[in-house]
Amino acid sequence: MTATVDQVEREIGRDRRRKEDQRLITGRTRWTDNLTLPGMLHLAMVRSPFAHATITSVDTSAAKTAPNVVAVYSGADFGDELGVCINAWPITPDQVAPTHSPMPSDRVAFAGEVVAVVVARSAAEARDAAELVDVEYDVLPAALDLKEAAADTVLAHPDLGTNKSALWVFDSGEAGTGAPVEDAIAKARTDGIVIEREYRQQRLIPAFMEPRSVVVDPTGEQYVMYSATQIPHILRFALAATTGVSESKIRVIAPDVGGGFGGKLQVTPEEWIAWAVGRRLGKPVKYTETRSESLLSAHHGRDQWQKLTLSAEKDGTVTGLKVELLADLGAYVAIVGGGVPVLGAFMFNAIYKFPAYHFSVQTVLTNKTWTDAYRGAGRPEATYAIERLMDELAAEVGVDPIAIREKNWIKHDEFPFTTVAGLEYDSGNYEAATARAKEMIGYDELRAEQMARRASGDKVQLGIGVSTFTEMCGLAPSRVLGTLDYGAGGWEHASVRMLATGKVEVVTGASAHGQGHETAFSQIVADRLGVAFEDVEVLHGDTQVAPKGLDTYGSRSLVVGGEALVKAADKVIEKAKPIAAHLLEASADDLEFANGRFSVRGTDQGMAMAEVALATFAAHNLPDGVEASLDSDATYDPVNFNFPHGTHLCAMEVDTETGELKMRKYVCCDDIGNIINPLIVSGQVHGGLVQGIAQALWEEAVYDDSGTLVSGSFVDYLLPTAADTISFEVDHTTSPSLTNTLGTKGVGEAGTIASTPAVVNAVVDAVRHLGVNDIQMPCTPERVWRAIQDGGSGGATTEAAQPHFDEAEGAGA
């Protein structure tokens, strides 16, 4: 036996192709919009074209007479049964938040807000009739610019009396985790270095591949909602909490979901409207948004002004960091809402040993689309700020950007390390990741080439961008979330069911929407129970199948949900052991379990897990008092976050004549602990990198001065494709996390968090000798060119888009 034991190939660490991909890629799976229920009706939304307006009348009479229209409702047709969209994270006790009706009857607060819904027998008829709904508005002044809104010049919600929602503060002096930052800054002003900068986190749109879709079926004993959501369990809770339906009467199903990036971590007006309409009519209803509606009204991300003050000694040793944020909530405080910048509050100090730290964020209401989590949620903003600042400090001191980081970072032998923000970093090795990344990119050669290009005045200059990021992920732990006033916990639940035939059903409360859980979780369970990868089925995303869970976001599924799975599998083994011992006529103490087999120590006697499962199913010969089931549950709540880190290096060529950018090379060495499936990790890193690079270079949600989303289609919201990116070189160092037994760290957001500053640092590095120390994101060629011309950061984006599709279209092309 022992000879073959070692030969069993471990599943963990294997490049398994994703078992779910065939059905996902070929589209043969059930996406929400594919569902057709008997007698199902279709919804079309009527949306406000104005950013801020009083609704004076809604005339639905013409729409009601349109062919096959069943009903037309405005907000006035519903009372409390419509419920409200919730904010689950009031970041301060005195947070100011407007009531968020899914379909307001009196006043709209952003362009795209739903004012009426048409119900018809087909989607086309609903759309046609929606054109006939006549809504009259009195336009109100709109709060649009974040800084002006923070000054309350125009009120987004006049009845609230202010746009300022919440001021959340962390101060290391007060918290006892460090010294007062003002002292450090004052000292540096006279005898050191003070770097003061203001950075803009532009507004982004998550732009998931599958637009949001919802089907409500009220015809059974339970009301069923199918939704393209990341959070079926939270959605169920919120429906119960706000619409008066007992939680036990609600079943939520997230079928296969095509991407989210945080954009489907939401409870949406459209879901609530569909719920109310379905219940009112007693018939199944479906609503699927168009891409235009998705860009306009699904929540946006980022949108901050960051005022930053870093103090240091003359040699570049950091002494303090002060962060003052303005964060644009948009028109409402979304489910996580103001919590997004708070998730960044603990990360501005990053991997550096700041002795003093102060963070504040003022969240602000405006008349724009509401904002919420977008891949990284708070940590990309923090990482961008600190990694840009460290480059600025290096330039001020006159040393290499890596040298300034090395001077200030936590050394590998200093872990575990309690930071000035009060977090305990369990493991990491910044030296090793950086050394590897430098080697991958050929750092010294690139610096030499950069010097040569500068010396010769080459029209094409070269920049090398550095980002030595870390982040906190795996949300969880519940106790910490509680201290932050978050409305839920952070545990995760798993069940392992041993079937009579030796196959395994795994139930997880995580809710995959493209991550590959079915594959990675199968690998974990296959190793743990010693069954074949193919014999593990992973079930999720349905509150009837997976009744407990807290869903998927914040890079939590593996590090929290995966650990729950391990614990449930271990319980299965514990339950199987006395049964196996009984059948083998041995003492349980003499049994050992390895590679799916119980063996009696010192003999060739043994029994496979599958045999125990069958015997348990038959239950003909079980020990006295032992139940006829191996099935086990576990709920896991970690004691700490985990802290992936890595070193990302970007080589960028800048055409100084035009401002055009050409990425030459991008390498990263991430430390995400032990890796379950390298192929999935690679996909997460590559995709994450592109999403972060896109913030640096391309994407921006732009509004005009009347509050209309100018970048309202992919013509103007520049989502990159494979043709716009290069092939990245990805490697890893491994410092296993100490906060879960698998030693894993989250990887879903790492690439996005790390890459944005690496790219902008590269662009600035290329032209710093020309008098540039900042270029505002996205670094458009025009901004780069203007920065070279006048040393500025490029200014705001012109709030106009060109027409390419003419309303008076003549001969079609």
């Binding site: 989607a123 086309a124 759309r127 046609d128 054109e131 168009t290 891409r291 235009s292 004549e657 035009t658 055009e660 270079l697 391309w698 921006e700 732009v702 100018v710 970048s711 289609s713 013509v715 103007d716 520049l718 989502l719 990159p720 494709t721 043709a723 716009d724 458009t780 060629p781 025009e782 060119w785 203007r786 984006t797 012109t798 709030e799 106009a800 888009a801 060109q802 027409p803 390419h804 599709f805 003419d806 309303e807 008076a808 279209e809 003549g810 001969a811 079609g812 092309a813």
Partner: protein, 284 residues
Amino acid sequence: MIPAAFDYLAPTSVEDALAALAEHGDDAKIIAGGQSLLPVLRMRLNAPEVLIDLGKIDSLRGIRDDGDAIVIGAMTPHSVVGSDPLVAEHAALISKAVEHLADAQIRHRGTFGGALAHADPAGDLGGPAVALGAQFVIQGAGGTRTVGADDFFVDLFETAIGDDEILTEVRIPKHTGWGARHEKFVRIVHQWPIVAVAATVRVDGGTIAEARIGMANMGSTPVRARAVEEALAGQPATEDAVRAAAERADEGTNPPSDLNGDADYRRHLSRVLTRRAVLAAAGA
């Protein structure tokens, strides 16, 4: 993204199409490849009652050699134009511009005549068309007429094609042996150009004998950089000479300002891209 209901006609001859157009007047829209019209319909920016599809009219498709010109049928897909050896030999500027046009899917569905008739000043084909002096053959009830490129583009989305007429083919005067270069400046590859410069040059013994330059997105129509063309004639194909001439690229233009670039940046780009395009076209 559901268009309003419309009736659909698919005539098999230009005459039938013209008759349908006459019958339905303003209620009708002609659809060629649909790459601009379909988004308009789906976003409900317009809701014509009748669509007249030219896709079944075989005579509108194809490329032929007609002595001093290459003739491209209006319904010829971009992908066919882009891979056509006659076009490559006698109107290389067109081939190079089509390489940069949108993406493969659009090149297979979109048509040469449709894109030009759409008259988006940011379109990829307008610059080459004005540079090469394309002739537009337009058919109406009364017969056909031919309009030169300078008169064809009237304004934003507006051409010389009458409401009761159809563009049937485009004649491209042969520029055999001319060097060609299309410089398209974009932020991501599938977007419309911020500015594009299409240059074709006849070099004679190291001297630029003739140059033709058309630019996209420098005004409400595709525009020719005539000042540069004049300044280049007879100049040596050198960096300095071309640079000096290219400084005049934005003369007489009226570029827009938008989220991809303000007018002054576009003017600057037009000068840089013109220099690069001409030098490349001249083989310098």
